[in-house]
């Protein structure tokens, strides 16, 4: 892999943001709305529950981290969709740019934009609701790493789906995080889920993050082994996603889909 082609893919996205600042707004606006909304909900729950449990870090912290994971996924797929929308596949894939360089560029772009969004959300949650996620210490870094990994994985799979099914399948991407959220137990412990949903959750690394975070905040023992298991699952899924994207691309070249991509349909 060469660095300059990867830098080219990233630079294109930065040019787009500079040329149209409205692209920057969604990076922070949805997160900010979630923080404000859930901040007041948790404040209300703290006032009426009388359980002694502080819902602020558990709910608001979970919302913040899940939003970050979602942004990571959408960062990859949106950067990919920019090339779909501008019908840039012919120019892009007739260049020496390799698939791994292209996907790396999408991932770097997503990491940059998602961490920017995370920083804004942390500042907002800290400033308005005194949420101190940094008090979780090194565990927070591990949580963010695992959520990044999963967001990138889903972003790559989603992009491959659009590459395989055609531009019209774009709408399939957006509900993916919502469809996953019940399984990854963002707001509740895994044990409240039916057995089959718990088994699905084991295959989804964010469930290890949110379960671990809750245990940590409730002063229970932090299951490092469980987090390591989630990381292993996440890394395997990332490798599988990369293979899936490469396989989808090679198929698109074999069938000619890349060359006539704007025709909106699978080969």
């Amino acid at each position: 892999m060469k660095l300059r082609p990867i830098a080219g893919v990233v630079l294109r996205q930065l040019y787009l943001m500079r040329g149209s600042p409205v692209r920057v707004v969604p990076m922070v606006i949805w997160g900010a709305v979630d923080i404000v909304l859930w901040g007041f909900i948790t404040r209300y729950l703290n006032a009426v529950s009388g359980s002694g449990v502080n819902f602020l870090p558990m709910l608001l912290g979970a919302v913040l981290l899940w939003d970050f994971c979602t942004r990571m996924m959408q960062g990859v797929s949106t950067a990919f969709l920019e090339d779909v929308w501008s019908r840039n596949f012919l120019n892009l894939f007739s260049s020496p740019l390799s698939v791994s360089e292209y996907v790396s560029g999408l991932v770097v772009t997503s990491v940059m934009t998602s961490f920017f969004g995370l920083l804004v959300m942390l500042l907002l949650a800290g400033g308005l609701f005194h949420l101190q996620l940094l008090s979780m210490g090194p565990a927070l870094a591990a949580f963010i790493f695992l959520l990044s990994l999963f967001g990138i994985t889903i972003g790559i799979v989603a992009s491959a789906m659009v590459l395989r099914l055609g531009p019209a399948s774009e709408w399939l991407l957006w509900p993916i995080p919502a469809l996953m959220s019940p399984f990854v137990a963002v707001f509740y412990p895994l044990r409240v889920l039916p057995r089959w949903m718990q088994e699905v959750a084991l295959a989804l690394p964010p469930s290890y993050v949110f379960e671990g975070m809750r245990n940590l905040l409730l002063g229970r023992s932090f299951a490092l082994a469980s987090l390591a298991q989630g990381t292993a699952v996440g890394l395997l899924q990332l490798l599988a996603a990369a293979y899936f994207y490469g396989h989808t691309y090679r198929r698109a070249v074999r069938t000619g889909l890349i060359a006539r991509y704007s025709a909106e349909g699978p080969a």
């Binding site: 060469k2 300059r4 082609p5 830098a7 080219g8 893919v9 630079l11 294109r12 040019y15 787009l16 040329g19 149209s20 501008s86 019908r87 840039n88 012919l90 120019n91 892009l92 894939f93 007739s94 260049s95 020496p96 740019l97 390799s98 090679r250 070249v253 074999r254 000619g256 890349i258 060359a259």
Partner: protein, 279 residues
């Protein structure tokens, strides 16, 4: 030279045999043509889009790829650019087999086509920088300035490509196509959207490029007068086969046609067997 070509022509067979003796050639050879296409086939089920297409483009040579709609021109270009995998056959760019060394082969080529405009939401200079990085061009800022000057785009450098006129977009696309000093340039109807004056200027620039830099050019066009003016050699493609090959000035007479346009019409309309009989 006028010759009826077939995939089994002796000259090509010799060239193919020669190249197969060095199947793993990664480093461009000084004696290699800019492009060598050998017995290219592409089948979609029972449909044959390319049926044994073979030809070469020498260094500094401009070759016209002609044929009616659906003849296989764009399919050929897509295969050469690595956008479409052939069912069988071989493509070498500057002596490098694209099937085995895609990136190295594509570093040496570039293309411009009316149907592949640059991203409209980037400015001209942003597009050139973006593609310059994809092609890993050294001395990129200087190269961008050269191309902006050469294609009269200096005053449009900060304009988004989507806001350019079709003629300006063509100039921007050609500037992108030259960003990496290609050894092989593929141009699919490069002057289709230009007025006659602008088209003539572009033709002269491209001819100079072939002469000055030794760049091999594969040019598709439906403008036969343009082809006669620009191309050193033409290939007529029909039903996925190379039907005729030769000098555009002499080819019509040799086949009893008044000019290239008449020959084109005849090739497009008549059954293959009648046209391919040499006079």
């Amino acid at each position: 030279m006028t010759a009826l070509t077939s995939p089994t022509s002796s000259a090509l067979a010799a060239r193919t045999a020669d190249s197969s003796a060095h199947p793993a050639a990664i480093v461009a050879r000084a004696d290699a043509p800019a492009l060598r296409v050998a017995t290219l086939r592409k089948h979609y089920g029972s449909l044959s889009a390319l049926d044994g297409v073979s030809f070469r483009v020498g260094r500094g040579e401009i070759v016209g790829l002609l044929g009616p709609n659906g003849a296989g021109k764009t399919t050929t270009i897509n295969v050469i650019l690595g956008l479409l995998e052939p069912t069988s056959g071989r493509v070498e760019i500057d002596g490098i087999d694209i099937a085995h060394h895609r990136a190295r082969a594509l570093e040496r080529t570039n293309f411009a086509a009316v149907y592949a405009s640059l991203p409209g939401n980037l400015t001209v200079s942003q597009n050139l920088r973006f593609f310059g990085l994809l092609y890993d061009v050294r001395g990129l800022p200087r190269r961008i300035e050269e191309l902006l000057g050469e294609f009269d785009l200096v005053h449009l450098r900060g304009t988004k490509c989507g806001l350019l006129s079709s003629g300006e977009q063509t100039r921007a696309a050609l500037a992108k196509a030259l960003i990496n000093h290609p050894k092989l340039l593929l141009l699919d109807e490069p002057t289709a959207s230009l007025d006659p004056s602008a088209a003539q200027i572009i033709r002269e620039k491209i001819k100079n490029l072939a002469t000055r830099d030794g760049c091999g050019i594969l040019w598709t066009s439906h403008n036969m007068h343009e082809v006669e003016a620009v191309c050193d050699r033409v290939l007529f493609l029909s039903h996925g086969k190379v039907l005729l090959e030769g000098n555009p000035a002499r080819l019509p007479q040799e086949h009893g046609a008044a000019d290239l346009e008449e020959l084109f019409i005849r090739v497009a309309r008549e059954p293959l067997v009648h046209v391919s009989v040499a006079p």
